[in-house]
């Protein structure tokens, strides 16, 4: 029961946190910024609208948003949100989890290709390329976690007698993991310095350009899927850095979501103090995160033996 409540709260809160990013960016720009609940308004607005479909698209195009929404929502099922045990958990669920995101991306990409727009093809090529590189980091992290903890399930990583936490014995090594995970978060969620979510310039876009042709409820689903995905990565980091285990679930949840909020604030700060990278430097950025994890993986051989 507790798990389902936590899951529900996470889904409901997902559109709130991106508001933090906007507020932080507005603060750095000397502006008031949009209201904190802006993303809720946006999603509601989009759901009330109709959809426009190009006559040159097929059913594939309409499937994209639904699949990306559902897969992102499903991925959160495996996450121990606010200390509650995950709604679903089985041996090897981490593989399923990351390939759910992969599935969502696959459908977004073929929906983009279905429009036959040169922009969307370009964006799709970039998205797939960068995601492939980011996957190397993600799976290296899983390898490290397996070595530290012996589990192959997302929930068990952070539970049991030997949980993965930055406050434990392997803390120093996990700091490297957290940094690279943050870099993956920026990459996977199309944030600065990899992508610019605020730009209107099609030629520079990565993720945004793939969804240019979606409108109304479809766009709302894509947006929600994106919020869930960002929440997943933030929760992932939070799970590692959560310092205290409170007995009261409420206190625990408060701390959990507090830390998560700070991660969003960190994203906002990053976006305010750096410019975007040149497109041909993005692979280097992602591979830097891989290098960090790889280094951490080498360290684990010592820690375990």
């Amino acid at each position: 029961m507790e798990s389902i409540i936590a899951y529900g709260i996470a889904l409901l809160a997902a559109p709130l946190f991106p508001g933090f990013i906007l507020k932080v960016k507005a603060f750095f720009a000397g502006k008031k910024g949009p209201p904190l609940l802006i993303k809720y308004y946006t999603v509601l607005k989009l759901f009330r609208k109709g959809s426009v479909y190009s006559t040159s698209t097929s059913f594939v195009f309409r499937m994209g948003p639904t699949v990306s929404f559902v897969t992102a929502a499903m991925a959160l099922l495996f996450v121990p949100i606010a200390g509650a045990s995950p709604v679903l958990s089985f041996h090897g669920d981490v593989i399923v989890l990351f390939y759910l995101f992969g599935l969502g991306r696959f459908f977004t990409v073929i929906a983009a290709l279905d429009t036959a727009s040169p922009f969307e093809g370009m964006g799709a090529a970039r998205e797939v390329y960068f995601a492939t590189l980011a996957e190397a980091t993600t799976f290296s992290i899983l390898v490290i976690f397996f070595r530290l903890n012996g589990a192959l399930s997302f929930g068990e990583f952070f539970a049991g007698t030997n949980p993965i936490t930055v406050w434990g014995g392997a803390g120093a090594l996990l700091l490297l993991v957290i940094v690279s995970l943050f870099m993956v978060l920026l990459t996977e969620n199309s944030r600065v310095p990899v992508d610019d979510p605020a730009t209107h310039l099609e030629l520079t876009m990565i993720h945004e350009v793939m969804i240019l042709d979606h409108s109304g409820p479809d766009l709302a689903l894509i947006e929600l899927g994106a919020f869930f995905k960002l929440l997943f990565y933030a929760a992932f980091i939070t799970c590692i850095v959560q310092p205290l285990q409170f007995t009261s679930p409420w206190l625990h949840a408060l701390l959990f979501f507090g830390i998560m909020g700070l991660i969003y604030v960190a994203v906002g700060i990053t976006e305010s103090i750096t410019a975007r990278l040149k497109m041909n430097l993005v692979p280097k950025f992602i591979l830097t995160s891989f290098a960090l994890v790889f280094f951490a993986a080498i360290l684990t051989t010592r820690v375990v033996s």
Partner: protein, 502 residues
């Protein structure tokens, strides 16, 4: 040098004094001049009675020359000998149906029927609504893909079509097709009552209101023999510099926004508003409309306004300095600016780039220095030192020019004089004359030409916006550049669509 007549900026000459060379001599003279540091200021066709004539105004260092010839249906293209004539010849072909033979890329410029009713050089049917009935340069190969952008864009910018030939992310060739905002300015100007001329010229390009209007008013002053007193010149110079500052500040902000570096983008946005408000102090219009009129200015600068300007400048100058520091010291920003969209000096000179785009490549031309009008002869010139021809250089030139403009305005505010407000009248222009005016608008050299007929009516009015030179520069800057850098390069040039389309 009988083939070329030396003229002065804004000083009219009798049309009969313009050399009328045989076609071959005309071509040879122009090509020779172009190869010896000469650049095209204006080159256009006009109808003189039954004849159609070509006229070219060239500049060489600090000298202006004019020459002309009669032409029939066709002439040998000069472009194959020198690239500087490329766009001008295309424009002549489009406006008067005269074919430049062996032109390497003869395409229409703005998609409209010619004014003489001659057979169309491009074989277009202009009753068709959609322009696009022309070939684009194409690259063939399995890995090549073509990206078409515009004419309708995602942002609030003007319409223009950009055709990229890419291999992967790299642009092999960019072709820019404009003309979507063609309003027929040149065709209209000779027909309207003369007191409307400045009002129309103010709207040729909204961001170059003062630049274009100044050219128009100076031309009328030349032809009508009007004197402008010193104080009015001070006000005009201040207005032109304010226009330059407002646009440079706004563009630095936009450049910052394009690399997703938010804080300066927002600060500059606000500061641009502050600078525009200074123009409002000057004449009640943030864009400087209604200020410059033949014979002087329509609004007198009183002590109270001088003080307002001084106070506001004292306030925003350090702010702009700060934000510039913020932008130009962020290494992530410099990493984006440096080595992006390079136009080497050699190429810039071949194309005849003007304004900050040219200066960023090391072309030392500034019309304020070479052909000074208004107060510029008595003011210092800015010499930029960063001349790599990349986005960073173009941004740095603007930063320097903003600061330079501040010091110019501060100097000018201390020059006190008296003037009377002038209002627009119908002036009598001297008959059968020719005048050309040049000013350094914020984008570069703006130039207007007026030819009058035997009764003092306007025979031909030719307008040239600096964008006419520089669009080709943008296309060249993109060669072998990543396609994702296009918006940044585009913004670093920030060329006018409507100024080009006329």
């Amino acid at each position: 040098m009988d083939n070329l007549l030396k003229i002065e900026n804004g000083k009219p000459i009798a049309r009969t004094d313009i050399p009328n060379l045989p076609l071959e001599g005309f071509s040879q003279t122009l090509v020779d001049l172009a190869e010896n540091d000469g650049f095209v200021v204006q080159m256009f066709a006009y109808e003189d009675g039954k004849d159609t004539k070509l006229l070219a105004v060239m500049r060489q260092k600090r000298d202006l020359f004019v020459t002309g010839c009669s032409v029939n249906k066709e002439f040998d293209s000069l472009t194959s000998a020198n690239e500087k004539f490329h766009m001008f010849e295309r424009e002549i072909a489009e406006q008067y149906g005269i074919r430049p033979l062996n032109h390497p890329w003869l395409k229409m410029v703005r998609y409209h029927a010619n004014c003489t009713g001659a057979q169309d050089v491009f074989g277009n049917n202009y009753k068709e609504e959609i322009p696009g009935n022309y070939p684009y340069f194409q690259v063939e190969g399995e890995d090549i893909h073509e990206v078409a952008v515009g004419p309708v864009h995602a942002g609030i910018i003007e319409p223009g079509h950009f055709r990229f030939q890419c291999i992967g992310e790299v642009v092999l060739h960019l072709e820019i097709q404009l003309g979507y905002q063609h309003r027929g300015v040149e065709k209209m100007l000779p027909k309207v009552p003369k007191k409307r001329l400045p009002i129309i010229c103010e709207t040729i390009a909204g961001d170059t209101t003062i630049g274009h209007n100044l050219c128009c008013c100076q031309a009328i002053e030349g032809l009508a023999g009007l004197e402008v007193d010193e104080e009015a010149r001070v006000v005009r110079t201040i207005a032109l510099e304010l226009e330059r500052m407002a646009n440079h500040v706004g563009d630095l902000g936009a450049l910052s926004g394009d690399v997703a570096f938010n804080p300066p983008a927002n600060y500059f946005g606000r500061l641009r508003g502050d600078v525009l408000n200074l123009s409002q102090v000057l004449c009640g219009s943030r864009m400087g409309r209604g200020l410059v009129r033949p014979g002087g200015v329509a609004y007198v600068l009183k002590d109270e306004q001088r003080q307002l300007l001084r106070d506001k400048i004292a306030e925003i100058k350090p702010e702009i300095e700060h934000v510039c520091d913020l932008l130009f010291t962020a290494n992530t920003v410099l990493a984006r600016f440096e080595d992006t969209g390079k136009v080497p000096l050699e190429r810039a000179e071949k194309l005849g780039l003007v304004g900050y785009a040219g200066r960023a490549s090391g072309v030392g031309y500034d019309a304020r220095d070479s052909f000074p009008t208004e107060c510029y002869a008595t003011l210092p010139v800015n010499r930029n030192t960063m001349t790599n021809g990349d986005v960073c250089s173009r941004a740095t030139v603007r930063r320097e020019e903003i600061m330079h403009s501040f010091s110019l305005i501060e100097t000018l505010l201390d020059r006190k004089g008296d003037t009377e407000a002038v209002f627009m009248k119908d002036y009598k222009l001297s008959p059968s004359s020719f005048v050309v005016t040049l000013n350094e608008g914020w984008r570069g050299e703006v130039s207007h030409c007026i030819l009058t007929d035997a009764t003092g009516g306007i025979l031909r009015y030719k307008v040239k916006d600096p964008s006419f030179h520089n669009w080709t520069g943008l296309a060249m800057a993109l060669r072998n550049e990543e396609i994702s850098e296009f918006p940044l390069c585009n913004k670093s040039f920030n060329l006018s669509y409507c100024g080009f389309d006329l």
